[in-house]
Symmetry: C2
Subunit: 406 residues, 2 copies
């Protein structure tokens, strides 16, 4: 089948066009190019732009998405419009066809240089589950601040890796309540967290908060994100300054960044707010800030959970407004995670901690029981969103295999 | 006085030679050069290297220290040896003299691109003071993990600023125990934290911990660091995931990075360990891991504290080993802060939180009382270390003025 003839209903049709960075077959992995996904092909966007004499070659013929991210909302929309033409208008198709590579032949890379990485905690179901597991005697499973601000913390941007990268099981200190002293060894409670990551394009100035309504000016797009977590390391280290080594060994992101422009039909209102919000977070007068993303989490090909992103209490726009309200500036390449996505039912929980209720109720997989991850396990997250004309917009998968330290 | 004739006993003599990045007088601030400080002059190191035909022009004739940082320990030592010759040997002096700029005439910049920023919590006196202030009824002022691992967390690298940068008072949510709901406004408990920052040069591989003994292979040098903190914002937000907006608005570092090679005479043994350490942290068989740095903190020119770095319980080598023991990789430009430096006496506390005991005992300054910082206050930290032949090694100052948001 000619590469442009994407099957009807393909979630990576011309209505989607996510961006990534790839090396063509047979090239050195240092040879990196911006690619745009169409069905099961990748368009070398820089080469196509040059062949067509497009002015956008300056942001597309690059080894990373950062120049495109830095170019700002107007350029993002213009480039998307141009790309749509290149893959749909016959005269353009003819010119760019030589620059299509089969997806199966290329190597995908981390699509942008991550500046700061922040992780939030925005699912009420997740936060309540965690509260009930770790503080069973508390009057409220949420901490008192939870409904007033989107809780977040900084993570390690240097260990953000692209989908497909093996994850080495981390070692570290852990201490069970019954242990007299901490012991050291490979984590025995290695977990996942199904999240959505938001990618900042347009920077902001130090000392100048970004308002709720300016979300689309600063955020380019989103990706799937697996916030690998070693629960035993985390439990022992995290009081009083938060998670550190329990998270910093790896954070996987999908190879494809879906532009917000592809997700206009997926916008939904967030859940009704149960507490009055301070003005900088009050989104009652704003465009709907949620996104209806249907996530699926599989272990070794077996689906274990389908977390719905639409139920997240805090929106990405609120997270951005909160993150900058103290005057903190944004940089091109900043990445922030939504926090674990968990829905109200058991089958919608985004972590093994919740799915197995801290290991009490192991999952029954075709290849045996799982309380937490075993070496060799492959975790794969996929997602789609409602698109135009009844189409689905596919998000790139994020996958990774757990390997022991050699 | 000729610029090479540094007064006897000057803490920035040829025994020191810290590195920074400057713009010469009258140039655009985009014109950046690596500078080496000698007394009250800055040597344009790249221009000097070129004039002398030095092979080190490749790492010195750059707009940032990152290429030098990435070059590794052998190059660091060789470059330092070369520089020492350039500023002491008469034949070389003659060649490089045109490349000396009066310090007062240049503009200093952030000397390196910060990759990840981590902040530790390594002073036992500080941790006990904080514990007593915030958990007065606890049986132990330290959390149970404190003596077993160097507690740390990731901070915002995008808001690390160079000494001299104004700090805009952050706004945010705060909630006193008696308040029914949080309120929003400028922080009313703006504080400082006197710290030492360590700068990573040589990167490490994902999945490969860095051993205690490899500290000097990876860490290039150190600087002074002021971890500005909004105590009211921090108190409301930090449970359960740690500090976020209470810290992320600004972290100031000195313009000068002192190479570890200049501090060999300042190495001291850390305090006796009261708890057995796991092997990866056990430094009993290692070279002394502490540094005898004498810090001074002044508000509007009035010295309020003299925190001694030599008493830090956890060393920078232990922090590096801990930070990577889970397999997290290092990048060139990673920065990690020691945590607030506080000594055992009242006059040695490194934060206003401790100096005023959470505002209960305001400081008496010549211009009035201070519980926390007021707009217009200028905070300046300086330090020196014992050097060779009885000389002092000066660290670059870190200073910043608090300004209201306009």
């Amino acid at each position: 089948m000619p590469p442009f003839d994407v099957p009807e209903g393909d979630p990576f049709g011309p209505h989607n066009l996510p961006y990534g960075v790839f090396s063509p077959a047979g090239s050195d992995s240092a040879e990196r190019r911006v690619g745009v996904r169409l069905g099961d092909h990748v368009l070398d966007a820089g080469a196509a732009a040059r062949a067509l004499g497009s002015p956008y070659a300056s942001v597309l013929a690059r080894p990373t998405l950062n120049p495109l991210l830095a170019a700002g909302r107007t350029v993002w929309s213009d480039v998307r419009r141009a790309l749509t033409g290149w893959v749909t208008v016959p005269a353009h198709r003819q010119v760019v066809e030589p620059f299509l590579h089969p997806l199966s032949s290329v190597t995908m890379h981390l699509p942008f240089e991550v500046a700061d990485y922040v992780d939030f905690y925005a699912s009420e179901n997740h936060a309540r589950n965690v509260g009930q597991i770790f503080r069973p005697d508390a009057a409220d499973s949420l901490t008192p601040n939870w409904k007033h601000l989107p809780i977040g913390y900084h993570g390690r941007s240097g260990t953000v890796v692209v989908s497909g990268t093996d994850v080495v099981r981390p070692s570290g200190q852990r201490k069970a309540p019954t242990d007299e002293a901490p012991v050291f060894g490979p984590s025995v409670r290695l977990d996942i967290e199904a999240e959505v990551g938001f990618v900042v394009g347009t920077p902001s100035e130090l000392g100048r908060p970004v308002a709720l309504g300016d979300f689309q000016e600063h955020v380019f797009g989103l990706c799937l994100l697996n916030d690998w977590s070693a629960r035993d390391i985390q439990a022992w280290e995290y009081v009083p300054l938060g998670p550190f080594l329990g998270k910093s060994f790896a954070t996987s992101v999908s190879a494809w960044i879906t532009p917000l422009d592809a997700l206009d039909d997926a916008r939904v209102a967030p859940p009704a707010r149960t507490h009055a919000l301070l003005p900088y977070l009050d989104d009652s007068g704003e465009e709907p800030g949620g996104y209806d993303l249907r996530i699926s989490v599989a272990i070794n090909g077996h689906v274990v959970s389908e977390p719905p992103f639409s139920g997240m209490y805090w929106t990405a726009a609120q997270q951005l407004a909160h993150m900058t309200v103290n005057g903190a500036s944004l940089r091109t390449g900043d990445l922030y995670g939504s926090g674990t996505v968990s829905g109200p039912t058991e089958r919608e929980r985004g972590s093994l901690l919740e799915l197995t209720w801290n290991g009490r109720d192991p999952l029954e997989l075709p290849d045996g029981k799982r309380a937490f991850l075993e070496d060799g396990d492959v975790v794969t997250m996929t997602a789609w969103a409602p698109g135009p004309n009844g189409l689905r917009v596919g998000l790139g998968e994020v996958t990774g295999r757990v390997v022991p330290r050699d």
